[in-house]
Symmetry: C2
Subunit: 323 residues, 2 copies
Amino acid sequence: MRHFLSVCLAVSALGATPLFADPLPSWNDTEAKAAIIDFVERVTDPASPDYVTPDARIATFDNDGTLWAEQPFYFQFLYALDRLRERAEADPSILTSDVLRAAAEGDLGPVLHAGEQGLLEVVAVSHSGMTVEAFQADVRDWLETARHPETGMRYDAMLYQPMLELLAYLRDEGFSTWIVSGGGVHFIRAFASEAYNIPPWQVIGTRATVSYDEENRVLMKGPEIGFIDDKAGKPVGIDQQIGAVPIFIGGNSDGDFAMLDYGSAQGGPFFGLIVHHTDAEREFAYDREGPVGKLVRGLDEGPGKGWLIVDMARDWGQVWPAE
Amino acid sequence: MRHFLSVCLAVSALGATPLFADPLPSWNDTEAKAAIIDFVERVTDPASPDYVTPDARIATFDNDGTLWAEQPFYFQFLYALDRLRERAEADPSILTSDVLRAAAEGDLGPVLHAGEQGLLEVVAVSHSGMTVEAFQADVRDWLETARHPETGMRYDAMLYQPMLELLAYLRDEGFSTWIVSGGGVHFIRAFASEAYNIPPWQVIGTRATVSYDEENRVLMKGPEIGFIDDKAGKPVGIDQQIGAVPIFIGGNSDGDFAMLDYGSAQGGPFFGLIVHHTDAEREFAYDREGPVGKLVRGLDEGPGKGWLIVDMARDWGQVWPAE
């Protein structure tokens, strides 16, 4: 009680700060920004027919390509390659397939050719046989030293400033903000609190099988995939971990299509957002082709479903956070 | 901002209410109640060496036998039997095994003899082939009309008043409260918000495989079990859905042992609580024997690990909520 009153007094003291400061300063004044603000105002105004109670203000976002960058390849995979190389130097016998041998030599061709299975194979060898805790400490170590091959930036600095502002704006307006990613849940949780202010229980992702070691009382990551949180798996992951349907969903690739479509289907107030990577100068430009972030259905069908296609080059005044 | 200030003013106006009202009025003044309050005060006092920040104040509870009753048999199973009977009347061909035929006739012997597999078989036939939404509406319908065979009460009135007070007390002190149950997650979510003030995303449980039907844009419950949230599965469920270790864990059977032990193992401030069903007069008395809620390791090893064994007859002044 004492703390609560202190907060109240502090808030009163701040009464002079502008109440209507721009919640999305890194967004240009285009229709994208206006549409977001209009939606948030409608669902938070008790007098509006579209009013949604705070408990139902659930917002989910893809991670790779939506909240942080994903070029030239998913950052988690670059981490996996680094660790695979190190492990293979110590023990070459772990390279039991052509895909793994190629990956350890930095040749991505065979891995990409093997598709999702190729990625999972590399991830399985490099991420398993350790406790969840040790894995996450290792991810944090890697983020401290690894640098992006093109920008030279820390990977966890390649967050999209406009999306950070959107997350904060939604939370300020009573939304809970969740990540629903095809990437690994343990990987993302290692940095999501610090990067996005999103706690581990609001991160949903692909996961390895985890088992409880009763003798040592620790959780171990296994090599098998337990759940793939991509495409039609995203609504399933939302059911597993949220048990309610988001009213605001953001993504950037066709891996997010089912999640967006599921939210749209409810018939209530809904905001669908697709980040379209149109900015080769400040970030990367890609959509219908390539091994990462393929976006076809979202561009073709999204506008007809009322989803906002964010044109990064036009709608964003700034891409990366200030250092 | 306007709402927040209103709340502050309202709180100020309430300044005359007693700040130190008993948070656990249905608990007798025994060492059990004192131990709970002592722990909560230590972890919430910033000056205490055991202080825990609010984000890490995670409390998990088993459901059957911990938050509500579980005799003569898990309530979800009684629901499953009711629905199996109705379905079999309409279409006897669904009774494809001796276990199912016996269950439909109300003969529980063969089901119990088949153990967990028997239960899962009945649940699979009675709970699958429908959307998650339709299933939960059906559970709520059942709760409206079904009555407990011995008490004549609604099943969702057979909640333990002392545990409802404990949940509210923990939340008032900045904890998040979660259910981690061997029961079905969709079943519990159908009533947990109303019964416990626990939202769907804070319910972890056993679950069927769920698939997303892209054509109809709905989630379908399948007949296969996707995850069993019991015994060593409970720490795994906590990892899947919370991603952090609870500091307060309550249970009542050996199905909760691994979860309690996992929390204990962290070495930080930790409170383990086991509800011991000692009250044949007001509720039921059972522990080491029987098909439901077997408690052996908890009684033998719990006290040595510092866990509180709640003696329902001695420690609880009231069992059920007032009507």
